[in-house]
Amino acid sequence: MENIVSIFVKSIFVDNMVFAFFLGMCSYLAVSKNVKTSMGLGLAVVFVLGITLPINYLLENYVLKEGALAWISPSLATLDLSYLSFILFIAVIAAIVQLVEMVVEKVSPSLYASLGIFLPLIAVNCAIMGGSLFMQQRQFVNIGEATSYALGSGVGFWLAIIGLAAIREKMAYSDVFPALRGLGITFITVALMAMAFMSFSGLKI
């Protein structure tokens, strides 16, 4: 239990998806113009990460890893399918995103309206794929840890995008050099936020 909480907190602050690994940067920069839409994207990322990462965890441990297929028959114990992981992970993510989109549309039209176009876009968000690939590297001992890592990373992304959107809303009134306006100053803002988050890296949990 303790482990799960510490993974959760660590993945929000210390190993923040955006600031420590630059994952999900494209949509992070493109959608952070105002707080409302970035709220939608942030929640959608938490949601999809929380579903796809545990599924990929099960796939990794019961299908892909060396010896993972031993539960079917002992003769398969030497099989190593990990070279298939990219294709399987991305197929799972794309399929789940499509599925989630349909379910949300049916069950909660208001949530669907607020997530809007972001759901389909999330299939190609690097934060989702990156989460699965990091999961593969870190070798969590059980699915609980993997899920808490997924939710923590999602919340980290959500925090980061809301923070940037709030700053950009204020910045609309500032007088920036013409050549830096828009994209350039956004990069510098993100850099300053990343430096602030670096102060968490000494955190011992």
Partner: protein, 210 residues
């Protein structure tokens, strides 16, 4: 030859190198651009991998463009890209193991690199294979040169080396010169890209935002 390099293909090739650069103008593929640039060698390998994958996936999607049903095109594109990325990743593991360890998950993340999806959607789905190939090469190289510039400054100022060889002479260190530790940290990559955008937009005034 004149038909191979008509004015249009020349523009398709040269545009992404500057006026329509994937990183500085289209804002695609930032994630990996920032993460792999602490050293020059992985940056070059990454740039080349993306260029190759982009060129070939553009050709494949362009060949398939009339047979892909519109509703499932994203999954088809992802699978084509994922297959190519797997090939490149296995080749790197076999022939350049050290670099592939340094690049870690970022090779796999080429799949979700927005440059790929962006170019496949915007170009390969509506153009012939040869032009798509050129477009892929142009965009890949446009991406690669920014990576190389950022990595050059980060490695030179952050570690005093290039390709792992010491460039800044020992006498400098004895005279009190210190490597800039901030340069190897993630935030400096963002600031260097911001500076590149700044310079780029000061030269090409029509790109400035209001």
């Amino acid at each position: 030859m004149s038909k191979l390099f008509s004015d249009k293909t020349k523009e398709v090739f040269l545009g992404p190198l500057s006026k329509n650069n994937p990183i500085a103008v289209q804002v695609l593929g930032i994630c990996s651009a920032l993460a792999v640039t602490a050293k020059l060698e992985p940056a070059i390998v990454m740039g080349l991998s993306v260029t190759i994958i982009l060129a070939f996936s553009n050709v494949i999607i362009s060949l398939l463009r009339n047979t892909i049903p519109n509703r499932i095109r994203i999954i088809v594109q992802l699978v084509v890209v994922a297959a190519l990325v797997t090939v490149v990743s296995e080749i790197l593991k076999a022939f350049a193991y050290d670099v592939s360890v340094q690049l870690s998950v970022y090779i796999g993340l080429i799949i979700t690199n927005c440059i790929l999806m962006g170019r496949l959607e915007a170009f390969a789905m509506s153009n012939r294979p040869w032009e798509s190939f050129i477009d892929g090469l142009g965009n890949g190289l446009g991406y690669a040169w920014i990576l190389v510039v950022v990595a050059f400054f980060r490695e030179l100022l952050g570690a005093g080396t290039l390709f792992g060889l010491q460039i800044i002479p020992q006498s400098f260190y004895e005279a009190g010169y210190v490597n800039n530790g901030l340069m190897v940290m993630p935030p400096m990559a963002l600031i260097l890209v911001a500076v590149i955008i700044w310079v780029h937009r000061s030269i090409n005034k029509e790109l400035q935002e209001k």
